[in-house]
Subunit: 306 residues, 2 copies
Amino acid sequence: MNKLVIAGSLAFDAIETPFGKTDKIIGGASPYIALAASFFGVTPQIVSVVGGDFPKEFVSILNSRGIDTDGVKIEADGKTMFWAGKYNNDMNQRTTLATELNVFATFSPSLPESYQDAKVLMLGNTTPVVQRNVIEKMHHRPDFIVMDTMNFWMDSMPQELDTTISMVDVLTINDEEARQLSGEYVLLKAARKILSRGLKYLIIKKGDNGAMLFSKDGDMFFAPALPLDTVCDPTGAGDSFAGGLCGYVAAKGSYDFETMKAAVIAGSTMGSFCCEKFGTENLQTLTNEMVNSRVETFRRLTSFNF
Amino acid sequence: MNKLVIAGSLAFDAIETPFGKTDKIIGGASPYIALAASFFGVTPQIVSVVGGDFPKEFVSILNSRGIDTDGVKIEADGKTMFWAGKYNNDMNQRTTLATELNVFATFSPSLPESYQDAKVLMLGNTTPVVQRNVIEKMHHRPDFIVMDTMNFWMDSMPQELDTTISMVDVLTINDEEARQLSGEYVLLKAARKILSRGLKYLIIKKGDNGAMLFSKDGDMFFAPALPLDTVCDPTGAGDSFAGGLCGYVAAKGSYDFETMKAAVIAGSTMGSFCCEKFGTENLQTLTNEMVNSRVETFRRLTSFNF
């Protein structure tokens, strides 16, 4: 099975939404990415760090989905990263109540030898310095590198961010971030400007308004978000999207536009499942049949005979 | 050729956008609807009223596109309706600077005999009383009635609005209006609640985030908005959408979900053309080839092989 290396946080999250409130549950980017990817026929391999307080049972859950955790460093005396956030009624805005980096503050990634032949590398949202570090720890550059980032790094370390962007194939950001990064309001113009940095693809996520894929050759693809009865908790939806996307392309081992279109649907599918329950709960209990059935729902949602 | 009766304003518009400013140009709902519909093989028939100041040349332009204007009353001593508006930088918000109803204030629609065998009736956004009046002026109820409305009528005459909604097959509103009309934030729930009033279909327009079609049987369809380099002037985009939609179904003479899906694409196609220039300018100069080619662009934008 093809391997997909995933660099990203493992954390405790405390989440409050109009639908309820969680105690500390497992969060961070990498479990969402890895669980979502695990439905597409790849071996996800996590690079991360946790403290001695991180539950072994959750590692077992990951392993039972075929996820390799050999690259997860355990700092026995340290504390796992913690994040607390609260969503507004419309679920599109959230407020960060607390971020305690803990062991993540001094994270220096190291990659097991078994990770070195991965074809695809997914860099979850974290400091661009750590992201670049992971790329440099690979003995050979992977065939395809996907990078998530956010406005925080655009504000706080724009030069480091630029450097890391120049090293990857795909960038995933939201519409506001695309505007900020490019200085262009119109998304089509923003996309062209960002792609001109040398990216193969840019993905602009628009929350419950779907996601857009742009290629350096000027191709475009649009995936709607699935209208859901209840968006219980959007935490991790972007990471689940990235996981579906990278899992799909890593399994196929091809990175052309046709593959990327289907990969964006895989990502949208996993993002939609993620939102239906708190944390990674839904991703832990899905079946392949449920995933395939939802892909068909996406197909029906946009296909037409004129 | 099947006939499509279109009831809606004819007006002078003065529009200001970040891209420029117009003097008084021809606007109102019905020219956008009729011009957009005229590309799909129907005879659009306008019901409206203008003053003596309305330019005969514009009537000739409509007629040259096969649009029937026998139902346009000319009040020689009156003034044509006038609207002035200004768009913000993001083009999603606009401020009305002036509305002078003039001859439209006392408009009592009358339908020529030649309009009576139309299969489809499109009620452009105007007072629900006038809209109901038009339905009642048809000797036989048309097979399919589509109605546009807006938040202004929800605030100012909710009971009249409810009555008119109960008489039609399709309602087109935007996302905020759907929330207001239903009292539900989640669009899927809003749609179900609004459909339960007896509609066959509800269309929720989301501006540059596309449009959604919901059926009373629980079917859903999503059409993206085409990402455009330049949105010059969004005035009339919703009317152009309605025109493409009604033109398509009236030409087909069928109103099932499959037809409605393609009709929503026809509408999105015409809405996208409308935005590229000021007023009805683009709709006047399009060719069928340009329309068909853009429908294909829409198909490519969302189709994928998983």
